[in-house]
Structure formats: structure tokens, C-alpha cells
């Protein structure tokens, strides 16, 4: 199969060896939910490995270790558990500042109720704002600003208990009124969460610390579609803004939250500096309040982030590009933590309203003709796992077999021939991919594979804004996308439900314009699910339907990593007030609350 020669070969062997050592060293610890499917996916991911490859032995034993309890998704880069915590024995030092290179700038600013907040934005936002709910290391929802959250099915109300004694950075109190105000503004038409929370009818502060969110039951006595609510509160919608910020006409320039850092300075496309919140409500190990760091300066750098850290110019960076992450492996003076737990899938959206892509044969042919595993091996050193559905291993809804077509170019060509016999020659398919050198090279390889099958491809690179616009207006055949993930499979509701599908030329939140009864039904089931089994079944049904209908061409579950100077410690640790730890790395996002710098 694929052999690498020279440096590439060595690199893969080294990387796998590192994992093998790391996995063996912490084979006993269990950091995340493992179900049986994780074990089989581990085997599956490596069945395509080259047995002639001398690194094959190392990776096999690595996967045995994986079966023992690691998340078997990405298997060749150090995970948050692997990072050598020698620092645990060192005394924590307070003070200091770090610089952090981000993938992109958040041009629209920090009013997250109104504007998009992709990964780079969230990384900054999580320092200024605290979430109502977060995800713990086992993948369960845990209250953060909330002490508890429970659904009262009799009254059809989510009862949220706010944690007492927390203040916003401007001194305002975090109480039920403040939380209710925040949530109410999310229901307004300009809010980006308006659709996701469309089932909420009212939000009321019933006493000092209790908020009730009323979700009316279905018209015909069906259960209330309230199951997705905690998932929303664990995301962008749950980052609580102060009442003064909500009232500010320039809220996007003056974010005020309860988070460990406060915004000090924002110069768009240059830097965002946040400074320690002296009155933060969580305490560190030494009894004084968190955070340990004095200051974090974020710098948007679309290119050259890895080089910036390796040259000592910047302290820390995140990336979903394996070639960046590889530079940190076995590199003295630097640490790398990577993860694809609850990963967002990378995929190509297919536009159902753009003939002939509404014909399933064409969609299946596109999937059959694309050798996804080879692309992963060639472009990402074989590190990410080949995806077959929207939900990553370890997530609810994940299935080892979804019916998504395996690579079979002959079958693909046969389908194309069949279609062309009826309809004449297939027109070129328009493919919009993301900006950047790496994406261009990958797209060329993909196009080559499709060309070999007789499908002509016309690809263009698009900036984020053009992407969003093409998607909304349906001006595409295939559109590369990276979205979703997280512990709640129902969070993609408005993107896949037919109620949000508008014709081409009109603004549609459902970019693919999927109008599928099975998917609609199961999305609704997930929203109203009252027990975990029903939830899981509905999610798995969605997975299967996607696999069968090929509405999206799944490519991989995105591996995100952070590379940083090894004098920074505890970069993925957040002790939860209710006990336990937060998920270390969630699609590249992590908390800097307990991070500290060794100045010595």
C-alpha cells in the first residue's frame, strides 16, 4: 500500500512510537467514555494500515493499548493525557503572560448572541465568558455557572439553578434575573440562536437563583422538544453576558462576562489582549482566586502558526492541520496535545437542489470514487480517522457501519455510466473548498480521483464569508465544511431539518436543502427524547440515513491540536465546581483558567 520513504517514513514511525510509549504509560487511566464501538473502530482504523510498514508493529501495539480505554479515534499524536505532568510536582507560579496564535480573527466582535463564533473566536470567548453548562471529561453535561439543571416534565419546564456568589467583571451580580435576561435576548430574531431555541416559549426568573424555561409540549400531546436545551447551554448560547453589555449599543466592542479574564484591548487582525479578572469566583490550589496567568494575548495568524511557536515568537497555537501538529512531535522544548474526542466532522456538503446531485446515483458515485483513506494517509500522515457519519467514535449516534459507501471506483463508474446512458453527459461538478495552500493541494488530489472515475470537477477556493454565503444561497454543488461535533447529536437540528430548507437563491439555514422524512422524524425524536436509549436510537437512525443517502461526503473526524512552549503547564485542565474535570480539548477549544507559566 502506501509506503513513505525518507523523512516521511521516519516521521510516521517516530510519531507512532511516541504514541505507543505514551499509551503504554497511561494505559491504566481512562479519560473518556469508551463503548464497544470505540474498540471496533480502533481496529477498523488500523485494518488499512500497511503491514509491510515497519511502523506497523508499533501501531498495532498502540492500538491494543487504545482498546484498554483510550479514545481510539486519533491514534498517533499525543493526547491531553500523554502530556508529561512533571509540572504536577512543581509549585504553581502565579503571574506572567502568554501569546496565543489563532486560526482566524473574529472580525464581528464579541457579542456572541448576534454574530458567528467559530473555533478561534470561542477560544477567546471562553476566557471572557463562562458557560452555563460545560462538558466533563466523561462526555457528560455538568453545570458550571449552573448548580443544576433539570427538566420538570409535568410542567414542561427546564429548571435552572444558578450558582450563588458569582459576579460579572463589572460588578453586576450573576443571578436568575441576569441569566433570564441573557436567555431572553437569545430568542429575538437577530439572535443567532433563535432557530436553535425556537421551541422555547418563555424564560422567567422565579426567585433569586432559579430560572424556569418553558418549552411547550407538542400540539398533539407529544413530549416537549426540550432535550437539546443543555447542549445549547454548553455552546455559544450558554456564554452569559452581563446585563450592562446586553444594554450596550456597542456590545461587540465591550464584552463583559464572568470569566477568568477581562478584555483589555482589541485591535482587529492584530491582537486581542485579556487580563486577569481579580474577582474571579473559582480558587486555585493556593487558595487565591484563579487564574494564575496575568495576561493572554491572542494573535490571529492564518498562516505560519507552527513556525511562530517553534521560532519562539509566539508561546502557543492551535491548528487542525496535521502538518502543523507534526512539527511539534518529538520536539524538545515544546509540547503537543491533540484530540478528536467529540470531533467535528470534515465533510463535503452536497446540494440537494442542484441537479443532478438530487439523484442518489450521482451522490453515491462521488463517494465511491473518493479514496478517503488514501487522502488521509497522503495529506495528513494517516492520523485522522476516516469518517462515515456525522458522529465521531465515542459520541452518541456513532456507528461503525452506517452504509456510507466504501471506496469502490468501479462501482462508482458503473453508476455514472448508468446515469449518463439515461441523461447524457454529466456536467462538471462545482466544488467549493476552503482557503489555504493545504486545502488546494488536497482538492487537487480529490479532483484527480473523481476525474479517474469520469467525473469532471470545477473547484474554487472560498474564504469563510464566501463559504457561508454560497451555502446559504445554495450556490454550490459540493461545499467543503467542518462543523458539528460535540456531545449533543441534536445540535445540528436546524441544519438538517426540512423546515429550514429554502430553494436555491433564497437564504436557507439548511445549506444542503435536505428534505428527508426519516431525518426529520429522528431529529424531532431527539429533541423530544425523554430517555437516553430513545435519544441514542434516533441519533443512530440519522447516522444510517446519512450513510445511505449520501447527503454529505464524510471525509474525516477533525483532529485538533495545540502546540506550545513547554514552560506553560496545565493548559487543558479545568476543575469543575461540582467535582471532576472539564473535557480537556474539545475541537481545539480548551480552558486557560488553570494554566501557568514557569518563568524559571
Amino acid at each position: 500500500m502506501i509506503q513513505r520513504s525518507g523523512k516521511n517514513w521516519f516521521r510516521v514511525a517516530a510519531v507512532t512510537a511516541v504514541f505507543a510509549i505514551g499509551a503504554a504509560a497511561c494505559g491504566g487511566s481512562s479519560s473518556s467514555d469508551t463503548d464497544d464501538t470505540a474498540v471496533s473502530s480502533g481496529d477498523e482504523a488500523n485494518s488499512t494500515d500497511n503491514s509491510d510498514d515497519s511502523s506497523g508493529d508499533a501501531s498495532d501495539s498502540a492500538n491494543d493499548a487504545a482498546d484498554n480505554g483510550e479514545d481510539a479515534g486519533q491514534d498517533a499524536l499525543p493526547t491531553p493525557d500523554d502530556v508529561d505532568e512533571v509540572a504536577a510536582e512543581l509549585p504553581i507560579q502565579r503571574g506572567g503572560s502568554i501569546t496565543y496564535a489563532l486560526e482566524s480573527e473574529t472580525a464581528a466582535g464579541w457579542d456572541l448572541s448576534r454574530t458567528a463564533c467559530p473555533r478561534a473566536c470561542l477560544q477567546v470567548a471562553q476566557t471572557i465568558f463562562d458557560p452555563l453548562i460545560t462538558v466533563d471529561a466523561d462526555g457528560e453535561f455538568a453545570g458550571f455557572l449552573l448548580e443544576s439543571f433539570e427538566f420538570d416534565s409535568e410542567r414542561s419546564v427546564w429548571v435552572l439553578e444558578v450558582r450563588p456568589g458569582i459576579e460579572f467583571q463589572n460588578g453586576e451580580e450573576l443571578n436568575a434575573e441576569a441569566v433570564a435576561l441573557h436567555l431572553r435576548t437569545l430568542l429575538e430574531p437577530e439572535s443567532i440562536s433563535a432557530l436553535a431555541l425556537e421551541y422555547v416559549e418563555s424564560v422567567t426568573a422565579v426567585d433569586e437563583l432559579t430560572v424556569e424555561v418553558f418549552v411547550p409540549p407538542g400540539e398533539n400531546g407529544e413530549p416537549a422538544p426540550a432535550a437539546g436545551f443543555p447542549g445549547q447551554l454548553a455552546g455559544q448560547a450558554g456564554l452569559v453576558r452581563a446585563p450592562a453589555m446586553i444594554a450596550d449599543a456597542e456590545a461587540q466592542l465591550n464584552p463583559i462576562g464572568t470569566g477568568p479574564f477581562a478584555l483589555a484591548e482589541w485591535l482587529p487582525n492584530d491582537h486581542t489582549t485579556v487580563v486577569r479578572n481579580e474577582a474571579y469566583w473559582l480558587d486555585g490550589e493556593d487558595g487565591q482566586s484563579l487564574p494564575y496567568l496575568d495576561e493572554v494575548t491572542f494573535r490571529p495568524l492564518p498562516e505560519g502558526r507552527a513556525e511562530a511557536v517553534l521560532s519562539g515568537t509566539i508561546d502557543m497555537m492551535h491548528s487542525a492541520d496535521i502538518s502543523d501538529l507534526e512539527k511539534f512531535v518529538e520536539n524538545d522544548g515544546f509540547n503537543l496535545e491533540a484530540s478528536d474526542t467529540f470531533a467535528e466532522p470534515s465533510y463535503l456538503m452536497i446540494n440537494q437542489d442542484s441537479p443532478p446531485l438530487d439523484d442518489i446515483r450521482i451522490r453515491r458515485a462521488l463517494a465511491l470514487c473518493l479514496d478517503g483513506q488514501t487522502i488521509i494517509d497522503v495529506r495528513s500522515a494517516g492520523i485522522p480517522t476516516l469518517a462515515n457519519g456525522p458522529y465521531a467514535p465515542g459520541s452518541i449516534g456513532y456507528l461503525a457501519e452506517t452504509g456510507f459507501p466504501d471506496f469502490d471506483p468501479e462501482a462508482g463508474m458503473a453508476l455514472i455510466e448508468e446515469w449518463e446512458a439515461e441523461n447524457g453527459e454529466l456536467r462538471p461538478i462545482r466544488y467549493g473548498t476552503i482557503a489555504g495552500n493545504s486545502a488546494s493541494i488536497t482538492a487537487q488530489l480529490q479532483s484527480k480521483m473523481w476525474n479517474d472515475c469520469g467525473i469532471e470537477i470545477d473547484f474554487r477556493q472560498l474564504e469563510f464569508g464566501e463559504h457561508v454565503e454560497s451555502g446559504q444561497l445554495g450556490d454550490f454543488d459540493m461545499l467543503a465544511w467542518r462543523f458539528g461535533g460535540g456531545p449533543d447529536p441534536s445540535s445540528m437540528y436546524q441544519f438538517w431539518h426540512s423546515s429550514q430548507a429554502q430553494p436555491v437563491g433564497e437564504s436557507s439555514v439548511n445549506f444542503n436543502r435536505i428534505r428527508d422524512d426519516v431525518i426529520d422524524e429522528n431529529l424531532d425524536r431527539m429533541r423530544s427524547a425523554s430517555d437516553p436509549d430513545e435519544f441514542r436510537e434516533a441519533a443512530e437512525a440519522v447516522s444510517l440515513r446519512f450513510g445511505e443517502q449520501v447527503y454529505n461526503l464524510w471525509t474525516s473526524w477533525t483532529v485538533w491540536g495545540i502546540g506550545y512552549d513547554d514552560n506553560i503547564h496545565q493548559v487543558t485542565i479545568l476543575s469543575l465546581p461540582g467535582g471532576g474535570f472539564a473535557l480537556p480539548l474539545s475541537s481545539g477549544n480548551h480552558f486557560l483558567t488553570e494554566a501557568w507559566v514557569d518563568a524559571g
Partner: protein, 317 residues
């Protein structure tokens, strides 16, 4: 001189109006909606419409142009559609670094090129001349983005002498400022050094053949004096033409350099505004650049007159 300045200023207004209306029309043709970008994938038609109203994007083209012109005349250069920050504020923050980049590059290239160009002309046909010309051609044959990336790999990542991205402001830490400017300035200046050496050498070698040089020498003036005072002075016109023409190229080159080195200057501001479809910002930037361009030309014309009083002001050769 007064006539020249008056004429140029009238020209300025015309050029700016012509350029900005052309830009306005061109921007309309480029597909893209700043509101959709700003709100993101979950944008509903209502949200988009509300945004359009807020940003006056629902008004017709001529009305928007008129509003913009009115605003500029009032001193209101507009705000970013993305975050409401005024163009004035951002420009004040990003302009210095680009101006420094261009200025340092200009100084560096002239400081290196002038002596070398004179030397090459003086020793025309000899080994020095040939070596210098070859080096000049060599420098002209390397694209800036390759040079920049290679410099970063060598001097930043491997030898860790200079930072790979970003520039420290002059006011914050002068030594660090210059250290962080070294690689970007070199990248920007290299091509110019080559061009200036060649230009000057050609000019000088032709000048040195002229009668008045022979006369000067026969009057017993030292070679050095002849070379620098008489020769260089006469040749500098040709060089000036190039420098003037080049400023535009420098700004364009700065865009590439800013991208490679992660510098947030005017080039970066321009590029990001295009990506974000920040029409108002773009309009203002285009207008400012047009004004700057005409002013630089004016300056060059004045310099011409100063350097060679024989030349009627305003006729650039």
C-alpha cells in the same frame, strides 16, 4: 511652482472622484454580502434584513456613494460593517507600521543601491561592474514570497535570530522594533535594490560620457567630486522617476510581505476588508491611497525641479 501645485491639486480631486466611483461600481460587481458573513451560518432572512437596514445596505448605489462622499467631507470616514470600529481609528493604528516598512525599505535600498550603482558605472565594463550587475539580476529573479518564507525558515525557525511574525511598535521598544523589522524590510527591499542599481548605473554611465563631465574633469576637479556632485546629480532624475513609480509597487509589495510576516498594516487592512466585503472601509482606503499616490507624484515633480533647475516643473521624463 505655484501653478504646478494648483494644477496637481485639481488633478487630485478629479483622480480621487474617478477612482472612487470606479471602485464603488467594481465592488458592487464582486459578489458577497457583509451581513451574511457577520451573522454566520445560522443567519435567518429576518436577521439578514435587519442587518441590511442597520448598515444602510438596502439603499441604492448612487445614494450610498453620495452618503459616503458627504461623510468624508464631514470628516467621517465610515465604520467597519463587521464591528462598527471607525476607519479613522483603525487607520491610525495600522498606517504607521506600513509607512515604516515602506520608508525603511526605501532608505535601505537607496543606501545600498546608490553607492553600488555609482561604483558600477565608474568601473563600467570591469569585473566589479559585471559582478554587481549579475547580483542585481539575481535579486530581480527571486519572488518576494519565496524570499520571505526562506528567510523565516533560516533566520527565525532555525537560527532564532529574528521573530517570524509580527512587529514590535517603535514606541514600545525601539531595539526590538528594529529587530522585528529586519526580515520584512529585506524582503521588500531586495527587488528595489536591484532595480535602482541598474537604473543608476545606466544613467550614470551615459551621464559620465557627457561633455560637461569632461569639462569638469579638465578643470581639475577630483574624480570623486565629479562623480558625486556632477554625475550623480544629473543622473538622479532617472532614479527619481523610478522611485516615484515604485512607491505604488512598494505598497502592493507590502501586502504580500505583511501577509507572510503576519504584520497588521494597511495592506493587511485592505486585504481583510476585501475578504469581509467591508465596502465603506474599502472605499475610504481606496480614496486615501489615491490621494497618497497623487501627492507622492507631486513630491517627485517638486524634487525634479529642485535637483535640476533646468527642467520645467511638471514634466516628468
Amino acid at each position: 511652482m505655484g501653478v504646478l501645485i494648483r494644477r496637481r491639486l485639481t488633478q487630485l480631486v478629479l483622480v480621487v472622484l474617478a477612482v472612487t466611483s470606479a471602485t464603488f461600481i467594481m465592488l458592487e460587481a464582486i459578489p458577497g454580502d457583509p451581513c451574511r458573513q457577520r451573522i454566520g451560518p445560522t443567519a435567518t432572512p429576518e436577521a439578514i434584513e435587519l442587518c441590511h437596514e442597520e448598515l444602510s445596505l438596502d439603499e441604492p448605489l448612487p445614494a450610498r456613494y453620495a452618503n459616503w462622499v458627504g461623510g468624508v467631507l464631514r470628516g467621517d470616514f465610515g465604520e467597519s460593517y463587521s464591528n462598527g470600529i471607525s476607519v479613522r481609528t483603525t487607520l491610525a493604528q495600522v498606517a504607521p507600521v506600513t509607512l515604516q516598512l515602506v520608508l525603511y525599505s526605501l532608505v535601505l535600498s537607496l543606501v545600498i543601491a546608490v553607492p553600488l550603482g555609482v561604483l558600477a558605472a565608474y568601473r563600467e565594463g570591469g569585473k566589479t561592474d559585471k559582478t554587481l550587475m549579475m547580483s542585481a539580476y539575481g535579486m530581480l529573479s527571486v519572488p518576494s514570497f519565496v524570499l520571505g518564507v526562506v528567510l523565516i525558515l533560516l533566520f527565525s525557525v532555525h537560527w532564532q535570530i529574528f521573530p517570524s511574525v509580527g512587529v514590535v511598535p517603535l514606541s514600545e521598544n525601539p531595539p526590538e522594533h528594529f529587530r522585528s523589522m529586519v526580515l520584512p524590510v529585506i524582503t521588500l527591499a531586495v527587488a528595489d535594490i536591484a532595480i535602482y542599481i541598474r537604473t543608476l548605473r545606466t544613467e550614470m554611465s551615459a551621464t559620465l560620457r557627457e561633455d560637461f563631465i569632461t569639462v569638469a574633469k579638465s578643470r581639475g576637479l577630483s574624480n570623486r567630486r565629479v562623480l558625486w556632485n556632477h554625475g550623480l546629480r544629473a543622473s538622479s532624475l532617472g532614479l527619481l522617476t523610478f522611485v516615484g513609480l515604485n512607491v505604488g509597487r512598494l505598497i502592493a509589495g507590502a501586502v504580500v510581505v505583511e501577509r507572510i510576516f503576519g504584520i497588521n498594516g494597511i495592506g493587511n487592512y485592505l486585504v481583510n476588508s476585501v475578504i469581509q466585503r467591508d465596502y465603506l472601509v474599502l472605499q475610504t482606503l481606496v480614496a486615501i491611497l489615491a490621494v497618497a499616490f497623487v501627492l507622492v507624484n507631486l513630491l517627485v515633480d517638486i524634487l525634479y525641479a529642485v535637483v535640476d533647475p533646468r527642467i520645467k516643473p511638471g514634466t516628468q521624463t
